[in-house]
C-alpha cells in the first residue's frame, strides 16, 4: 500500500490527473541544471519510439536543487509538444514533478517513486540518472521492456565499461553478492535500473533502513531475489557521466558494502541454506569491456594499506578478523611493494570475516566498514599490478575466477556467520 503521507498535495493532484499509467520513468535530481533537459528529452524520445500506444509518465523527484534544475523542469512542463503535420504521439506524455526534501537522498526519492508507482498502478518503472551524459532513448526502453512485457521484477543495467572502471563492483560487490544471493547480476549498484510495479509495491511497503538509503537499487534487487521474483539484465551501452566530485572511497564503501552487508544480514534466511548461483536473462549484448591504458601504479594505495593495517590490526581488526586471516594479512603487509600480492582466497576470507563481524556487530558497524577501506586499497593495488597489461578477456576470466572463489568459500562465511565471535 502506498504511503500517502509522503505525498504532498501538489504531487497528489498531479497523480490524480494522470490517473493510471503503464510506464513510469523517474529522474531523481539534485543540481542537474546542465543535463536535465537532455535527460527528459531522451525519455520522451524513448516513449515515442518504443511505447507509442502506452500510457506513460515521467516523474522528477528533486532533492532541493539550488541551481536552475527546477526552473528548467518547470519550463519543459509548460512547453507544448512541437506541432507538425500530423500527430507526434498518440497519448499525452505526463510530466510530474515534486520536491521530496531539502537535501538529496536516493532512498527518500525512491520512496516517493514507489508511492507514485503504486497509486498510478504502473506496470513497469525505470530510474535514470540525469548525470549520465550517455543516456539515450534506447536506455529507458531497455530497462522498461523486460519488466513491462515479460514480467521481470528487476532489470539491472549492463554497460560497456573500460577496463579500469568499476573495480569495486568487479572485485567485491559483484562476486560477493553473486555468491551470497545466488544470482549473477553484474551491476546491482547502478544509477539506472528498471523494476516492475509489483516490486515497487513490495519495496514501498517495507521500511528502508538507513544502511540502504544511499543505494536502494541493490536492496530492491535483493528483495526481488529473496521473494522469488525474476530478475534480468539489459544492455545499455557505454556509460559516461558529468565529471563531479562524487563521494570518496570511504563513503562509497559505506554506501555499497554497507548496503551489501546489511542485506546479507536482513535476508540471511534466504541465503544461509542455499548454494550455487544461477544466471539471469540478459537482453541485448552481454557486459562489455574495452581496453584502457593502465593508470600509474598507485603506490600511495599500498602505503595506505600497509600503514592502515599496522595501525588498525590490534585496535580494530583483531575484533573483526579471524586469527588466521589476521595472520595472513600480517604476512602480506610485510611484503615489499614490488612483490606485493593480495591473494584472492585471502581477500574472500577478509570480506567474509567482515560480513560476519557486521552481522554480530562486533564493533560499531560503521567502524567495521571504515576498517575495510585500507584492506580494499591493498587489494586494489595488487589487482592493478596484476592487470596492468591484461586484455579485457583475461580480466573477465579473473573476475569469474574470483566469483568462483567466493562461491567456494561460502561455507566459511556460513561458519563465521553462525559463530558467536
Amino acid at each position: 500500500m502506498a504511503d500517502e503521507s509522503l505525498l504532498s498535495e501538489d504531487l497528489l493532484r498531479q497523480l490524480m490527473s494522470v490517473g493510471e499509467a503503464d510506464l513510469l520513468v523517474a529522474i531523481p535530481t539534485y543540481n542537474n541544471a546542465g543535463t536535465i533537459a537532455q535527460a527528459i528529452q531522451s525519455i520522451e524520445d524513448s516513449y515515442q519510439q518504443n511505447f507509442v500506444r502506452d500510457r506513460v509518465a515521467i516523474l522528477n523527484v528533486d532533492g532541493g536543487s539550488s541551481d536552475q534544475t527546477q526552473q528548467i523542469i518547470a519550463s519543459l512542463n509548460g512547453k507544448k509538444d512541437s506541432i507538425r503535420r500530423g500527430i507526434t504521439s498518440l497519448r499525452t506524455v505526463h510530466r510530474i514533478t515534486t520536491q521530496y526534501g531539502r537535501s538529496p537522498s536516493q532512498g527518500s526519492a525512491l520512496k516517493v517513486v514507489f508511492s507514485a508507482a503504486d497509486l498510478l498502478r504502473v506496470k513497469a518503472c525505470a530510474v535514470v540518472s540525469p548525470a549520465t551524459t550517455s543516456l539515450d532513448p534506447a536506455w529507458a526502453a531497455n530497462l522498461l521492456r523486460p519488466a513491462y512485457r515479460q514480467d521481470f521484477a528487476f532489470v539491472a543495467p549492463l554497460y560497456s565499461r573500460s577496463k579500469f572502471q568499476g573495480l569495486l563492483a568487479r572485485n567485491l560487490l559483484y562476486p560477493m553478492s553473486r555468491a551470497v544471493f545466488g544470482v549473477r547480476i553484474r551491476e546491482m549498484y547502478a544509477d539506472e535500473w528498471g523494476f516492475s510495479g509489483r516490486l515497487a509495491s513490495e519495496c514501498g511497503s517495507q521500511p528502508m533502513d538507513e544502511a540502504v538509503r544511499a543505494r536502494p537499487e541493490a536492496w530492491m534487487a535483493v528483495n526481488a531475489i529473496c521473494n522469488g521474483m525474476k530478475c534480468s539484465q539489459s544492455y545499455l551501452g557505454p556509460r559516461t557521466t558529468v565529471p563531479s566530485g562524487g563521494p570518496d572511497i570511504v563513503e562509497t564503501i559505506r554506501q555499497t558494502v554497507g548496503n551489501l552487508f546489511y542485506c546479507c544480514d536482513a535476508f540471511q534466511d534466504h541465503w544461509l541454506d542455499r548454494n550455487g548461483t544461477e544466471s539471469v536473462q540478459t537482453f541485448g549484448s552481454d557486459h562489455e569491456l574495452t581496453p584502457e591504458d593502465a593508470p600509474p601504479r598507485p603506490d600511495k594505495s599500498f602505503e595506505l594499506f600497509r600503514n592502515g593495517f599496522q595501525t588498525l590490526q590490534d585496535a580494530v581488526l583483531k575484533s573483526i578478523l579471524a586469527k588466521d586471516t589476521l595472520a595472513q594479512l600480517k604476512q602480506i603487509a610485510a611484503m615489499d611493494i614490488d612483490k606485493f600480492d593480495f591473494p584472492s582466497e585471502l581477500w574472500v576470507r577478509v570480506l567474509y570475516d567482515f560480513a560476519a563481524a557486521y552481522h554480530r556487530t562486533a564493533i560499531s558497524r560503521d567502524h567495521i566498514l571504515q576498517a575495510l577501506v585500507p584492506l580494499y586499497r591493498g587489494q586494489l593495488f595488487s589487482f592493478l599490478a596484476d592487470h596492468a597489461q591484461s586484455t579485457p578477456e583475461e580480466m573477465e576470466a579473473d573476475t569469474e575466477a574470483l566469483c568462483l572463489e567466493f562461491e567456494r568459500q561460502k561455507p566459511y562465511l556460513i561458519e563465521r556467520w553462525k559463530a558467536k565471535n
Binding site: 572511497i249 601504479r297 600511495k300 602505503e303 586499497r377
Partner: protein, 233 residues
C-alpha cells in the same frame, strides 16, 4: 616489677580473650549472615534471570540497541547484566548488615556513610562506564578516519581523544563523589589546559608542516590517493 609486667600481660591476655570471646560470636554471626546473603543473592539472581527471560528483555534490548553498547563494552547480555547486578547488590546489602553486626566502633558510622554514598557511587561508576565506552568509540572513529585519510599520526590522534575523554570522565566521576572537588577541578584545568597548550604549540611551531598538510588536505579535493581517481562503481 616483674610481677607488674606479668600482671599487666595477664590483664592484657584476659582483655584480649574477653574481646575475642565477645568478637567471635559476632564474627560467626557475620559469616552466617554473609553466607545466607550469598545464598539469597543467588536465589534472587536466578529469580531475576527467570523473570527477565520471561519478559524477553534481551530482545527488547537488542531492538533498542542497548545490547550493541554492552557488546562493545565486552559485557554480557542485558538479562545477565541485570541479574548479576541483583546478585551483587543483594550480597553487598548482606555484607553491610554482617559488618554492622560486628559492632566495631566507628565502622558503623563509616558503613552508614558508605550507604549514603551508594547512589553517588553508582552514578560515578556509570559516568566512568559511559566515559569508557565513548572514549573507546570516539578514539576508534578518529583512528579509522585518520588512517583512511592517510595521516601519519593516526594513533596519536586516537590516543589524544581517548585521553581527553578519560580525563573528563574521571573528573566528572570524582566531582560526583565530591572528592577533593576543588583540587580535582584545578588539576583537571591544569592538565587539560596544558594538554591543549601543548597541542597548540605543536601545531603552531613544531607541527607547522603537519598543520599545513592537514589544512591542505582538508581544503583540497577528496582524493586521498592515486587509486581514488578510478571510478569504483
Amino acid at each position: 616489677m616483674k610481677d607488674a609486667i606479668v600482671q599487666g600481660l595477664q590483664q592484657a591476655y584476659q582483655n584480649m580473650s574477653q574481646m575475642i570471646a565477645q568478637f567471635l560470636p559476632r564474627l560467626v554471626v557475620m559469616l552466617v549472615i554473609v553466607l545466607t546473603g550469598v545464598l539469597v543473592a543467588y536465589a534472587f539472581k536466578y529469580a531475576a534471570r527467570m523473570i527477565l527471560r520471561l519478559t524477553k528483555l534481551d530482545r527488547l534490548s537488542e531492538e533498542a540497541g542497548a545490547s550493541k553498547v554492552l557488546r562493545m563494552a565486552a559485557l554480557p547480555s542485558m538479562t545477565e547484566v541485570l541479574s548479576r547486578s541483583v546478585f551483587w547488590i543483594t550480597l553487598l546489602g548482606f555484607i553491610l548488615i554482617g559488618i554492622s553486626v560486628l559492632n566495631i566502633a566507628g565502622l558503623q558510622e563509616q558503613i552508614a556513610r558508605l550507604l549514603r554514598l551508594l547512589p553517588e557511587i553508582v552514578v560515578a561508576m556509570l559516568i566512568l562506564f559511559l566515559g569508557l565506552v565513548i572514549a573507546n568509540f570516539l578514539s576508534r572513529a578518529v583512528l579509522l578516519g585518520s588512517v583512511n585519510r592517510g595521516y601519519g599520526s593516526a594513533m596519536l590522534f586516537s590516543w589524544s581523544v581517548r585521553f581527553i575523554i578519560w580525563i573528563l570522565a574521571i573528573t566528572m566521576a570524582l566531582d560526583e563523589l565530591s572528592v577533593a572537588r576543588q583540587t580535582v577541578l584545578a588539576a583537571f584545568s591544569i592538565v587539560f589546559g596544558a594538554f591543549m597548550l601543548g597541542l597548540a604549540i605543536a601545531f603552531g611551531f613544531g607541527g607547522q608542516d603537519l598543520a599545513r598538510k592537514f589544512l591542505e588536505r582538508s581544503l583540497a579535493e577528496k582524493k586521498t590517493d592515486d587509486s581514488d581517481e578510478l571510478q569504483p562503481l
